[in-house]
Symmetry: C2
Subunit: 309 residues, 2 copies
């Protein structure tokens, strides 16, 4: 059972994991080469704690006595019985991090990488104990978005996958097991697909950045907070369900797919997108927008819990 987790990397993802793990009663050691990143950790955790306190029956203040920090990966892992790796997404750096982790981490402890773009098979390549290395990819911010995508590499032991799944399920995450290694796992492949068309519509002058975003957030995005695209179209089939939908309206999807193209991400298009988001956000800072996003995610999490959704 996991009681003490080492987090490698104190960026946004690592810091958010730290707040979540502390809220679940775990001891947490965070390593980062940058002292400034470690120094910013308590402030981040305090802010995240206020959100977590609305979702969970936790102490009024974060248990900072259960948190330690270090600039050294090996010493962070010496007492840990699991590692959540959140370093930069470059394969050479990942392998170096794994090598340092393995100098002290007990041989049966799992190394879960938060990588969004690399493969577990590549990360575990050359490791002393490749079988315990897997991907456990969250969405940002991990303490508020429950999805964790688990992906095994070629060498990952099934028992390690099962233990990882039990761990994340046990702390209230929603796990999915990705059955083949693909760029972007599941969720980021899906977001990329939506984004391709969101960019195309602007590139082709069909709509402004603001209107594309409004169309999602006041249209299909409302349903997606509760159900994915398959279930959505199952209901689109009425009493006949998904089979009726696919047999009668499937061809309209195929026709739309044929009409969609990949935009060229030119400097001009980048300027159009940047100007569009400036117009849509009317000067509100990314930090303020992120705060509003997190407030909304907390409220939505409470709502979904109440509905059992």
């Amino acid at each position: 059972m996991t009681r003490h987790i080492a987090i490698i990397g104190a960026g946004l993802i690592g810091a958010s994991w730290a707040a979540l793990f502390l809220s679940k009663g775990l001891r947490v050691t965070v390593s980062d080469p940058t002292q400034a990143a470690l120094a910013a950790l308590p402030g981040f955790i305090t802010t995240a704690w206020a959100d977590l306190a609305q979702l969970d029956d936790i102490a009024a203040a974060p248990p900072f006595d259960a948190l330690s920090t270090t600039q050294d990966i090996a010493s962070a892992c010496a007492q840990a019985d699991m590692v959540q790796e959140c370093g930069p997404d470059r394969i050479a750096i990942k392998r170096q991090i794994v090598a340092e982790i393995e100098t002290t981490l007990p041989a049966d402890a799992i190394i879960a990488s938060s990588t969004s773009s690399l493969m577990a098979s590549d990360i575990q390549d050359g490791a002393h104990h490749p079988g315990r290395i897997l991907v456990a990819h969250p969405m940002n911010p991990p303490h508020l978005v429950p999805l964790v995508e688990l992906v095994a590499g070629r060498a990952t032991e099934p028992d390690c996958m099962a233990r990882a799944r039990a761990f994340y399920d046990g702390i209230g995450r929603v796990t999915v097991v990705v059955q083949k290694e693909r760029v972007g796992h599941l969720a980021n492949r899906l977001t990329s697909a939506l984004y391709r068309e969101a960019v195309s519509l602007v590139a082709e002058g069909v709509a402004t950045v603001a209107d594309v975003d409004r169309a999602i957030a006041h249209g299909p995005g409302l349903r997606w907070a509760f159900m994915g695209p398959h279930l959505t179209y199952h209901l689109g089939g009425g009493a006949g369900g998904y089979r009726h939908y696919l047999e009668h309206l499937g061809p309209t999807q195929v026709a739309r797919w044929a009409d969609q193209t990949t935009p060229a991400m030119t400097p001009d298009l980048i300027e159009t997108l940047v100007a569009g988001i400036a117009d849509a956000t009317a000067g509100e800072s990314p930090a303020d927008l992120a705060r509003r996003r997190d407030t909304a995610l907390v409220a939505l999490a409470k709502l979904k819990r109440d509905l059992g959704a």
Copy 2:
């Protein structure tokens, strides 16, 4: 000002519009060639009314004295000062409906089509007053999803677009103006793009139907209830915003786009999808699932109103 609206077609979309318009104090006349569809209308409206009453300060029971029904399009339009057309999405039928509408509808009254797949330019072709014909496309169910996509055809008069926008805005809808006629307008192009990858992931054995849907509803779908893809990636750029994101992480999107393909909707794939949704829904009927969806949409609408989101 619109006081009396004729709805052509008493299917799911027409019935939902009827409930919404009644809740906003309009007189409503619904025409449908099928007596059974008209007979089902009061039951549908009563159910929808319970949802609408949670969002709006309305009477306890639907004002059925403000609702009339008829099997005849021309007589439905004789007293109307606007038409919401919800007939079958086939161009020959649409043109026939428009011809019948124009036998009685006052010349300055707008004809707004709910069509999801046709173009306003094609619908207005051959009409007596093509300038007043436009697309006002809702998402299902229109009384709970606020988005209305407005699309002008070649002949649509700007004044009619402006009046239509003022009308839908005035009854609490969120309008977007689609600047070019394209198959699927905005929202259904975006949902189709997401769906293409959702189907591909199942077709290629990367994940089950249930896991694809879980990934959305417990992952990126949560954010999409409040913000579209452009704003999401603007926040993904941190303090540097969208420009930083596009310049540094834009290439990862381009790489994912290059890795995505269009699935072939074969009979085998349809069987896989149908079996997958049966597994994911565990025997719950489409009607019960739709009821749960509507309950969730009402709760989310209240939440968004409270947050000003």
